[in-house]
């Protein structure tokens, strides 16, 4: 049963191309018409609601997470349609296979008016922006996005993270000013610590001993050694456990990559001795079954089930939402100090956390209205509507801060169905004002222990020009794949550390210095 996959894929591509070639003339002429913004847009008000007097319709492409219900049934979009006079029709693509659908959308040039929660990466943004499929937004932001503009003034790193070297902004990110929402907490099983008479570990060696005790001491008291001492998410890109422990070995994660910045010098540490130390430590944990043996194979659902089971000793998550019924069993701890005294919380997202969350395409006839439409979600008021739904139905105000009703949140899945932020990546502002659910007292406490160890400033993925971005893409395709694959093997012991020099020399062969040079240049530009 061999499928002619390659051929049919090619054929599909080519057919898509054929159709597209037919359309391309039309597309070009449309663009010409578009370049001077249509003057009929005078109906768009610079402030206040409704945004337009005559109702307009927009088509948006969006990602729908497993937790979400249909977007048209979400209170935020129903209410906002009445408020703004803008009707949005969503095309929903499931998280699984989303990247594929998104890219085919651009390849076939059958564009929606805007992309909502689109997870465009910098390369895609630049590629489609330069090609003219996404329109530059910097002037629109200036005039029609007061909330976003204010945020960009308050946090200058937002602008540098989304502006191309030519000075264009082709997509806007989800913005997170709540520090706690930018990093995963380290949840340790307090009940087990107490039962075994242990203290919170403060160094990596103490952590090792605590995990050994979790493994051997039968803290759950069922007489079987079925405890999972430590576990972490299994992500498609990157190795979460490495990122979480990196700070204890002096490794930072700047510029959205394995990068330390010391005295203005960019250092990609993938081949460094410190990285080896970290991997050796993790290898020791894995070998002695202190690290979840399924850490590289379990699914997201399985991982969340482990959180909720209360049978895990230490794991990482931003909130306690997944183990609310047993939340008292867990407490957040600070990052442990490593063998060289390093103590950092490295896995911290930048303020513009969700890059490429929203973009406007060239077929959009109402870019001004669209910009005003999205800008609302960058205000506390709009974000409250997006995250909490209707006052009196889904939430109430306590001390000026919205809280979900207890009986609403008690219904399994109801919250995820109600708001498009569940599942991540929605273009909006997450500030302390709207964080009561993701940042309850227990999470705040856990965050307080991490805060002193967070980097002063977290540089986001830099924006390159198209040619450089393509070069980075080619280099990183090979390098990232190699680093991930070999690191995984080092950790599980499928590859011995004798091979470390070979690992280093292969990285050099893959031109890691060239990559470092490119990042250095980008950083220099940014720091100016």
């Amino acid at each position: 049963m061999r499928r002619h996959w390659g051929r049919s894929a090619l054929a599909t591509l080519i057919i898509a191309g054929l159709i597209l070639a037919g359309c391309s003339n039309g597309g070009d002429s449309k663009k010409e018409n578009n370049s001077p913004p249509p003057s009929t847009e005078s109906a768009v008000k610079a402030e206040g609601f409704p945004i337009v007097d005559q109702p307009i319709k927009l088509k948006m492409f969006t990602r729908i997470a497993p937790a979400n219900g249909p977007f048209k049934e979400m209170p935020v979009f129903q209410d906002y349609e009445k408020l703004s006079n803008i009707q949005v029709e969503f095309t929903e693509a499931p998280t699984d296979g989303f990247a594929e659908k998104k890219n085919l959308l651009f390849a076939s040039n059958e564009l929606p008016d805007a992309l909502f929660r689109s997870e465009l990466n910098p390369l895609e943004t630049i590629r489609y922006g330069t090609a003219g499929q996404l329109i530059p937004l910097e002037d629109l932001i200036e005039e029609y996005a007061p909330n976003l503009k204010a945020l960009m003034e308050q946090y200058p790193e937002i602008r540098s993270a989304i502006t191309t070297p030519e000075g264009h902004i082709y997509s806007i990110p989800g913005i997170v000013t709540t520090g706690s929402a930018r990093t995963d907490k380290r949840w340790i099983n307090k009940a087990w610590l107490e039962k075994l008479n242990l203290k919170e570990p403060t160094t990596t060696e103490e952590l090792y001993n605590v995990l050994v005790a979790f493994r051997d001491g039968d803290p759950n008291g069922n007489g079987v050694a079925d405890e999972i001492p430590m576990t972490a998410r299994n992500a498609a890109a990157g190795i979460i456990i490495v990122n979480m422990m990196a700070g204890s070995f002096g490794l930072d994660l700047q510029l959205g990559y394995n990068i330390n910045i010391e005295d203005g010098k960019v250092n990609i540490w993938s081949g460094d001795e410190k990285h080896k130390e970290l991997l050796m430590y993790l290898n020791r944990l894995y070998k002695e079954k202190l690290l979840d043996q399924e850490i590289f194979s379990h699914t997201e659902a399985q991982y969340l089930a482990k959180q909720g089971s209360g049978n895990a000793g230490l794991f990482f998550d931003q909130t306690n939402n997944n183990f609310l019924p047993i939340m008292d069993q867990y407490v957040g701890i600070a990052p442990p100090a490593g063998p060289n005294g390093d103590q950092m919380q490295s896995a911290v997202a930048p303020v513009p956390r969700d890059f490429g969350a929203f973009a406007i395409t060239s077929v959009n006839k109402h870019p001004e209205a669209t910009m005003r439409w999205i800008d609302y979600f960058y205000s506390d008021e709009g974000s409250t509507l997006l995250r909490f739904g209707r006052e009196g139905e889904h939430y109430e105000m306590r001390d000026g801060v919205p809280y979900y009703f207890d009986d609403f949140i008690a219904v399994t899945g109801a919250q995820g169905k109600m708001t498009p932020y569940a599942g991540g990546g929605a273009p909006h502002l997450i500030s302390d004002q709207v964080a009561s659910f993701i940042n309850p007292p227990q999470v705040q406490e856990a965050f307080k222990k991490l805060e002193p160890y967070m980097p002063e400033i977290r540089y986001a993925n830099p924006m390159f020009d198209e040619e450089t971005a393509q070069k980075v893409n080619i280099l990183r395709n090979d390098i990232d794949k190699y680093v991930n694959e070999q690191s995984t093997k080092f950790i599980v012991g499928a590859l011995s550390f004798d091979k470390w020099e070979e690992f280093q020399s292969t990285l050099n062969k893959m031109k890691i210095d060239e990559l470092e040079g490119i990042y250095q240049a980008a950083y220099d530009k940014m720091a100016k």
Partner: protein
């Protein structure tokens, strides 16, 4: 479309005896040729027409500019692929998975067909056929799910191994086991289905030949060897050629589903590479170049094997 039969009829009326044989033939059997039109149109529109888009393999495809408008790149994408660190690994995995499949999985349906053919009891042989070909209808996702359950460290296979005093094996997370599991489960799933055509061919073998062989005192094995196998040899050769025609294409979905960082060493094949770098990251030109490379190798292999088969066994596709 409609005008054609009339034209054809005219030709036959005006010049009944002149013109080439083909035209006369068409005029005479225009109804049959009419039926041929649809498949020809299908091939032209969906198989030959798209060849025009192949040019994006030599271009930097930019969707906004279209296929014709995109700038030329030459052989850059091919060079990038050949220079890629993973090129040799991809090639080796693709070739070796297919080679092992061909060596191991190809003969098994033939043996199964011979076995079924030799069973005297009709009911029993029908039973056997049904049971062996039912797995064919299970979807790939479910098959991989079954593999995950059975081969997990806490699954039945490992429990058996531990019960006999062995230590559990991480089948799904080791490069060494990947090809065995992949090919083995393919055989399990498809041998029944693939044997159907051989069983059909076997039923066409003249029974007199068996009787004659029996008279001459040939044993069962001898009869299989000298009567059954030669009887279905042309079918075997044709299927072998067809199989080799898509030698470089492996079961893409299944491999993608089974892939993880720990078995990537032996599970990384060209088609999954195309998917992860091309489709997911929107690099259509690069992907098209790799796809073209793949197809060219397939074509070369097909031509070689066909020629070889024609020389040695006088059976070939053309």
């Amino acid at each position: 479309m409609k005008s054609l039969p009339e034209d054809a009829a005219d030709v036959s009326l005006i010049q009944p005896r002149r013109g080439s044989g083909l035209i006369r033939n068409i005029a005479k059997r225009y109804d049959l040729y009419l039926m041929l039109l649809l498949p020809i149109a299908w091939y032209l529109i969906f198989h030959y027409g798209p060849l025009y888009g192949l040019q994006i393999a030599f271009k930097n495809f930019n969707p906004a500019k279209g296929i014709m408008g995109s700038p030329w790149e030459g052989f850059g994408h091919f060079v990038r692929f050949f220079d890629s660190y993973y090129f040799w690994r991809l090639l080796w995995n693709t070739v070796s998975i297919n080679l092992f499949s061909l060596l191991i999985a190809f003969p098994i349906p033939i043996m199964l067909a011979l076995l079924v053919n030799e069973i005297r009891s009709k009911t029993y042989s029908k039973w056997l056929q049904n049971i062996t070909y039912i797995p064919h209808f299970i979807s790939v996702v479910v098959i991989v799910g079954i593999l995950n359950v059975f081969l997990s460290p806490t699954g039945p296979i490992n429990m058996l191994i531990e019960a006999f005093g062995g230590s559990s094996v991480r089948f799904l997370e080791s490069a060494g086991w990947f090809k065995t599991i992949f090919i083995g489960s393919n055989i399990w799933q498809n041998m029944g289905w693939q044997s159907i055509i051989y069983i059909a061919a076997l039923s066409g073998v003249n029974p007199q030949l068996y009787e004659a062989a029996k008279m001459d005192g040939a044993s069962r094995l001898r009869r299989i060897w000298h009567v059954s196998l030669p009887g279905i040899a042309p079918v075997i050769v044709i299927l072998l050629i067809l199989d080799i025609g898509h030698f470089m294409n492996v079961g893409f979905e299944k491999i993608l589903l089974m892939q993880n960082n720990l078995n990537l060493e032996s599970s990384d094949v060209i088609s999954t590479f195309v998917y992860t770098t091309g489709i997911l990251k929107g690099e259509y030109s690069y992907t098209a170049a790799i796809g073209l490379f793949n197809s060219v190798i397939n074509l070369i292999l097909l031509l070689l094997v066909n020629r070889f088969a024609r020389k040695t066994s006088e059976t070939s596709l053309w």
